[in-house]
């Protein structure tokens, strides 16, 4: 099967799909070990693309790691091709010594790895019953990120204690820029160059990106080339015209960085055809504010809630797999999940969000409970809700 790559080419998904598997695989020698493994031609995994984004097929994935080639994408100027030997990161502004680092330099500093999610703050779609988890909230993915702590670089350049914000700038055609509080930079920000064991993929910022655990995707500036240390925010287009949201009383919320707790049941979900009997309800839960403390599942449209099992280890600011064993008796019902994080926050309903933000509520930072309707015939449908 052909798939469209990020460079717009159509290439075979892995190796070309064989006409058929041999009737008895024990009777024929298979191919020997190879330099690069392949995806089974029987597995057709793909992101769902639009002009500006591509969405992770959450309903098709296991565990918590997102295969790097299925990590969601959201760019504002496409995916730049960057020669790693020409790459440099400049840090200047309110620093003792403005400095330039090559990619090799970045890799020579003490390094750190962490498994964490990355989610676009625009990660919410609704509208019809025939929607998959991928379509509803496929703009979240998880990787093991490796890089150097930004604090290490701040120490190296002598960032001023008086500085309060820094500008992160990418080297894509959008020359993407975001203003970030220095506190985040000193705390847990990374300049990441590794993703799931290998170099970052071009779609995720190769050869280096800003990674801000738990913060909205857009702030995690990809293909980063420059950091300017400052004592005020820069008010770039992305943090004003975009990535801000209408709230009550005509107000517009800016610098809303943290991704609030959220969860979604990824099985059973549209377009699954469910069989009666035992069902392991499975899904993902995450919070940009810390660890997932608990996930609760309801199988009666939200009347009663039961704790789901969390897959250990539960990590800080990470997709956490939850599971809940349920025997479906064949009656129509609604199932849903809600995440509770270690700050005590409980994932709200859409109505609670409207109550809090007003009916002019903007499209970012929407993390409502997702409900699935299970019909008597076993079909599973998304339950869309409107507010505008």
């Amino acid at each position: 099967a052909l798939v469209k790559t990020t460079t717009g080419q159509f290439v075979p998904a892995a190796v070309a799909k064989p006409a058929s598997a041999p009737p008895d695989p024990t009777k024929v020698q298979g191919p020997p070990p190879g330099a690069v493994g392949t995806r089974s031609p029987f597995e057709q995994l793909a992101k769902k693309t639009s002009d500006t984004s591509s969405r992770t097929p959450l309903q098709s994935l296991y565990g918590t790691i997102t295969p790097s080639d299925l990590h969601f994408e959201r760019h504002h100027g496409g995916v730049p091709v960057i020669d790693p030997t020409a790459y440099k990161l400049v840090i200047h502004g309110m620093v003792k010594k403005p400095m330039t680092f090559t990619l090799n330099d970045l890799k020579r500093f003490p390094s750190v790895s962490r498994i964490a999610f990355l989610e676009c703050s625009g990660n919410f779609r609704s509208g019809k019953q025939e929607m998959t988890p991928q379509e509803i909230c496929g703009l979240t993915s998880q990787s093991e990120w490796t890089g150097v702590m930004l604090s290490t670089l701040f120490r190296e350049v002598g960032a001023s204690p008086k500085a309060t914000w820094f500008l992160a700038e990418g080297s894509d055609a959008a020359v993407m820029t975001r203003s970030i509080p220095m506190g985040k930079g000193w705390n847990d920000a990374m300049i990441a160059y590794g993703q799931n064991g290998e170099a970052l993929r071009p779609q995720q910022g190769y050869p280096a990106r800003l990674f801000l655990p738990g913060w909205e995707g857009n702030t995690n500036v990809k293909w980063i080339r420059r950091i300017e240390v400052s004592d005020q925010p820069f008010m770039t287009r992305e943090e004003t015209s975009k990535y801000t949201e209408n709230i009550k009383d005509g107000k517009i919320r800016q610098f809303s960085f943290d991704m609030d707790a959220r969860s979604i049941i990824t099985f059973p979900a549209y377009p699954v055809q469910l069989d009666k009997g035992w069902v392991e309800i499975k899904g993902l839960a995450w919070s940009g504010r810390g660890k997932i403390l608990r996930v609760e599942v309801s199988v009666d449209a939200g009347k009663k809630w039961y704790p789901a099992t969390l897959q250990e280890p539960v990590l800080d600011k990470a997709h956490t797999r939850f599971r809940f064993l349920w025997k479906w008796n064949g009656n129509e019902t609604e199932i849903m999940s809600r995440a509770i994080d270690e700050t005590g926050y409980t994932q709200p309903t859409l109505q609670q969000l409207i109550d809090a933000r007003g009916t002019d509520m903007g499209g970012y930072h929407l993390n409502p409970i997702t409900a699935w309707i299970i019909k008597r015939d076993g079909s599973v449908l998304f339950k869309p809700e409107k507010w505008k």
Partner: protein, 163 residues
């Protein structure tokens, strides 16, 4: 003899001093206080000419939107789209954004005077300045955007509260 240090040293001695030239080449940002604005100027009349040539194909003849975003819609108009006039809080952002990334198909190709002119044109079209007003490093930061007053910093405070 090998020296073992378990604490982080003050510096690692990795990387080199950035040259002024390389900082200058990349330091294109513009702050609300005008820091970063270059020499040059332009007005709406000049801007309209450039807009017609380089922008109208995507954003509509006069910025009313086309294949891509509507750019015009003064505060209070019936326009539903978020526009410079009804949503953008800082005038400097316009200069910064146009210069760094527009036109989309030739990002970073505009001269500073052109950017000033386009900025003036779009501010004029959004009924924020008049058509004769010259935009430069001094005047642009002084332009107060109608939506500025509505902006508040993130009011979510963490914890149980839903906001």
């Amino acid at each position: 003899e090998t020296k073992i240090i378990t604490e982080m040293p003050a510096t690692f001695g990795i990387g080199r001093k950035a040259t002024n030239a390389e900082i200058k080449a990349w330091d294109i940002d513009v702050r609300p206080d005008g820091k970063g604005l270059p020499y040059g100027s332009g007005n709406a009349t000049e801007g309209k000419v450039i807009f017609t040539q380089k922008c109208a194909a995507c954003h509509g003849k006069e910025g009313e939107g086309g294949a891509y975003a509507r750019l015009v819609g003064a505060m209070g108009d019936t326009v539903k789209a978020k526009t410079i006039g009804n949503y953008w809080p800082w005038s400097t952002t316009l200069f910064d954004y146009i210069r760094r990334t527009m036109p989309y198909n030739m990002p970073g190709s505009l001269k500073d005077d052109e950017v000033y002119s386009l900025t003036a044109y779009l501010l004029y079209r959004n009924k924020i300045i008049d058509s004769t007003k010259n935009m430069d490093a001094k005047s642009l930061p002084k332009v107060v955007m109608p939506a500025r007053q509505y902006y508040v910093d993130d009011d979510r405070r963490g914890g149980p509260e839903i906001r």
